[in-house]
Symmetry: C2
DNA sequence: TCATGATATAGAGCTCCTTTATGGGAAGGT
DNA sequence: ACCTTCCCATAAAGGAGCTCTATATCATGA
């Protein structure tokens, strides 16, 4: 078996054509290089160098070997550089999966900040339903997932609540006078409702809230994007069910009005799901750290 | 600095996902593998494996590294296979340079035999003038060269005579009666002469022989190919100056007749030129051996 | 709770790489 | 011719660090 360290010595010797110089480059002594080359030649049972009076020169066989070794070492060097990049986050990638609505309204500012701090880290986002996100976390396809809680326990996952989410009903100018007194679920159900598409956890959550109060609702307008939901509400097309934090600005500006329900909408939690038993990549760990630094302490 | 042997251990560990198995594959103990991986992680200052209860699993960084290491090792393996081929002559190449006329009439049977014995060795031939051949030998572009002697001494070359060459004058049927008695150079110069093109060493040799006897000649027909020279002579177009061994058959068959000169044509030598101080490649050494086995002992 | 199968750690041992010292050959200058 | 210089090979001693044995520790599953 060829001792791999020999290849390094071979490489230097071949490039310099001088065992003494090769030794200097490697910070070892010339006999050491001599010895290594000799070992190598014995192992391969062929001569790699011609010994000339003014140094060494590759034999044809040596030249052939050099071609392979050079390429091989170039790869290893590239690998080590890559590792170094990953280490100091000047490379690598951060892969986050999240429920559709969380990206823009929750994650975006952090991604922006992260990207500014580590511009070399490639950010890959994938969205999907909560079950798809957790699956990707388990597979290792994403570093971690952000999901709405509660979700099913899974022995392979750690799930940690990191943020509260307070939903609310909002309407445009037309609902200004409706916004004074608390409304029953039934009352709210009478308005044209602007809801996220069926399948989203927010939609399920809203339906659940209504159904608990024996109100069956039907979305008048169903959209895939929370932004559009808010825009439509501003235009007065109906009452939207959205997270309060997404419309803080609009409420303050008087573009939207909150319709308070008689029965409080439960607080929801945003959770972060990661694989148990695995250390996240450095890129991911840094992001996690950044996220947590900003979060109020929560009882999980 | 990463000790390269670590990579081998890393590779096995990554592939098996089990340090103990990796150790078995490498015929070392598990703590040895543990130790190596740890060294490596410290050297790169990042974690390469997640330690799970049922083995190890690559981290993202580890996966990235594995890609490089696998490719790199594949190359080294390929290199070792190549060396093995070169060693047992199931690969590699034999590069011979020779003066034009030598290939067909001298070298061909050996090349044929060599190729039959080592069909995997690629044979590359290059022809040119003697000076070009020796130049290629010095550059290492060819393993060795076959040339007509004498040639200039060169400190970088070893030149060894390996075969004698006896030139002669031959003519066709028309010269049958001329072939009885020895002829002077002057007599021979009167015949239409069939000679190799100017520039060839055979041509120079012939001219030299004539001029030493104060005969100035002029080629009536000048050809680049010895075969054509012989054909023309058989057709009776004149007297050709060729090596006797090339026309042995024709002389025996009575297709050509030798015109004996009064002054003997000196014996020439075919020599083999190789670089001094360098061992030939194995492919070349074998050919050289095969060549020499067939040669009569010669005083150089 | 015990057995099993992993990895981590500690400490001793020994391999084999490295070093120092030396020799010899070739090239180049005097 | 002789001396100097440069370079590689060899011998023998020394030691760094890999490897081994033994053991601890932890997780899993029966």
């Amino acid at each position: 078996m060829i001792h791999l360290e020999w290849y390094r010595i071979f490489l230097h010797a071949a490039r310099t054509g001088n065992l003494t110089k090769a030794a200097q480059e490697l910070y070892i002594t010339q006999p050491s290089v001599s010895y290594a080359i000799k070992q190598m030649e014995q192992a391969l049972s062929l001569k790699l160098f011609h010994r000339l009076s003014k140094g060494v020169e590759l034999t044809e066989e040596g030249k052939a070997l050099l071609a392979y070794v050079e390429q091989s070492f170039a790869l290893l060097d590239a690998g080590e550089r890559k590792m170094s990049q990953l280490k100091d986050l000047t490379g690598g990638e951060l892969r986050i999966g999240a429920s559709d609505s969380l990206f823009k309204h929750f994650l975006f500012p952090y991604l922006d900040k992260y990207h500014k701090q580590y511009p070399e880290v490639r950010i890959r986002l994938s969205h999907g339903k909560t079950s798809e996100i957790t699956q990707r976390v388990k597979e290792g396809t994403v570093d971690f997932g952000l999901i709405h809680l509660p979700t099913a326990e899974d022995p392979l996952l750690t799930i940690q609540a990191i943020m509260t989410l307070q939903d609310c009903f909002v309407g445009g100018e037309a609902y200004r006078d409706k916004a004074v007194l608390p409304l029953t679920a039934h009352d709210l159900g009478q308005f044209p409702l602007l809801l996220l598409s069926a399948g989203s956890s927010t939609r399920r959550f809203a339906e659940h809230w209504f159904s608990q109060q024996n109100v069956t609702i039907q979305a008048d307008i169903e959209l895939g994007s929370i932004d559009l939901l808010i825009e439509f509400a501003k235009l007065g097309l109906g009452v939207a069910f959205v997270s309060k934090s997404y419309v803080t600005q609009e409420l303050a500006d008087g573009l939207l009005y909150e319709l308070k329900p008689t029965v409080a909408i439960p607080t929801r939690y945003i959770g972060i799901a990661a694989r148990r038993d695995t250390t996240p990549s450095l890129a991911a760990a840094k992001f996690h750290e950044m996220l947590m630094a900003d979060m109020p302490a929560l009882v999980t």
